[in-house]
């Protein structure tokens, strides 16, 4: 078992622990019933997604500043993982919204900005795919990652000024009973570990892909000089 497989197994085990807290420890919501249990993973994956995109931002700035290939690989890995967590957030939110708001979707500030977040980082991955690999892709993606990260609060603010139905931050406002708060904090910690492990694995994949690409580029250049050596 490699280091990465061990980390993955650990992250999955932690998520099972979180599931135990969500379904066995946390009390059922008096008003919303069992569907409220979506809250724990919904909010946790939203926080994990924002964390991932924060890493994309830092990686992008790091690349533009120092031209560090590692910073760019980190941004690439975090963007993909962040997109996965944003998808989870959106889908779980819709499942929760249907029984409570009686609609899958409403153009509320938080929903709109999360959807825009998803679209921006899907575009980020498209730039990575379509730009010339290497310096160009890394630079362009860094710019998209930085603008995307700034745009999301702006979208959120401009729609908030308009209309909103999504509940505010209940955790910070001290509105949760202690059992729910414990279950939430444990789920959040486990989800963040899962996100970190996923980024680490993806980083490794990106690293190996970069190396493979370098070998393809380097092979015809290196071949004449090594023609005499026994290989």
């Amino acid at each position: 078992m490699t280091r990465y497989e061990q980390a993955a197994a650990g992250a999955v085990a932690l998520m099972l622990v979180a599931a135990g807290f969500i379904f066995l420890f946390a009390p059922t919501d008096a008003l919303q019933g069992p569907v409220q249990r979506i809250f724990y993973l919904h909010v946790s994956s939203a926080i994990a997604a924002y964390g991932c995109f924060g890493v994309v931002l830092i990686g992008g700035i790091g690349y533009l500043w120092k031209e560090s290939a590692a910073a760019d690989r980190l941004a690439r890995a975090a963007a993909l993982v962040g997109l996965v967590f944003t998808t989870v957030t959106l889908i779980m939110g819709m499942i929760w919204a249907k029984p409570i708001w009686n609609t899958f979707w409403t153009w509320d500030a938080r929903l709109t900005s999360t959807l825009v977040l998803w679209i921006i980082y899907a575009g980020y991955l498209m730039v990575r795919r379509l730009a010339e690999p290497g310096r160009q892709a890394a630079r362009f993606a860094a710019v998209v990652g930085i603008f995307g990260f700034i745009d999301v609060p702006v979208v959120h603010f401009s729609v908030t000024w308009w209309r909103t139905v999504h509940p505010g931050p209940v955790v910070i406002n001290d509105a949760l009973p202690p059992e729910m708060l414990i279950a939430f904090l444990i789920t959040m910690a486990c989800t963040l570990v899962l996100a970190a492990v996923m980024i680490a694995i993806r980083y490794r994949i990106e690293y190996l892909m970069d190396q493979a690409a370098e070998r393809i580029v380097a092979a015809p250049i290196a071949a004449p000089s090594e023609a005499g050596s026994a290989r």
Partner: protein
């Protein structure tokens, strides 16, 4: 410092003049865009069940849809000639700052979009019989500033990328959303659908300042490649 600032402004104006002269001589983009926005209005007229009661509710949406897509075409063309002649590289070899060259390109493309708006807004007022007030014009013009700098930044980026027509809307539209949210609100209010406009004008100004500063910082990384 003061001297280089003046030089940068001179460079930006020279680049914008070059682009506008090229457009004046060929007269390609503006007539095509004008025709495009009128066509968009005709299509919208058939797409909506339109009468005098719902006009103030529908017209702002039609305005922004037509403007956004006209903008995508205009900014997509902004770097087309440079790409075909490989003249952007030549401009970047001069001692001029990349940010100044970018500002010139954005200024010219923004002015072309303003000319297109000079067709779109009266046509909208005519076909949809909505009032064309100062608030509508100022909201559209303020949004154009931010849309032009963002549109040109990503147009410069996709000019060097495969499948550029695909990528430009994907990158640009999400970043235009704040302008459309706030500008849309201002235009709805001005056309009689309720809401305040004073706040919207201030917000649009803030957004313009934010994105002009950001794009001028980012221009170096996109152009100087």
């Amino acid at each position: 410092m003061w001297c280089t600032d003046l030089r940068s402004i001179a460079v930006a104006i020279a680049v914008a003049r070059k682009d506008l002269t090229a457009e004046w001589r060929t007269r390609e983009l503006v007539p095509a865009l004008a025709q495009f926005v009128v066509l968009a209005l005709v299509i919208a007229n058939f797409g909506f069940q339109f009468d005098s009661h719902n006009a103030p509710a529908i017209a702002p949406g039609v305005l922004w849809m037509a403007l956004v897509f006209a903008g995508l075409v205009a900014f997509g063309r902004a770097f087309a000639a440079e790409r075909e002649q490989a003249s952007l590289e030549a401009m970047l070899l001069t001692p001029a700052a990349p940010a100044a060259i970018f500002a010139g390109k954005a200024l010219a493309a923004g002015l072309l979009l303003v000319i297109c708006e000079a067709v779109l807004l009266p046509a909208l007022a005519l076909f949809f019989s909505v009032p064309l007030s100062f608030d509508v014009v100022s909201a559209v013009l303020l949004a154009t500033v931010g849309m032009a700098v963002l549109g040109c930044l990503f147009a410069a980026m996709v000019a060097r990328v495969r499948a550029r027509e695909l990528l430009l809307p994907l990158l640009t539209l999400p970043l235009w959303i704040p302008f459309i949210v706030v500008g849309g609100q201002a235009v709805q209010a001005a056309m009689g659908a309720g809401g305040g406009t004073n706040q919207a004008t201030g917000l649009l100004l803030d957004l313009d300042i934010l994105f002009v500063v950001l794009t001028s910082l980012a221009a170096r990384f996109v152009l100087d490649d």
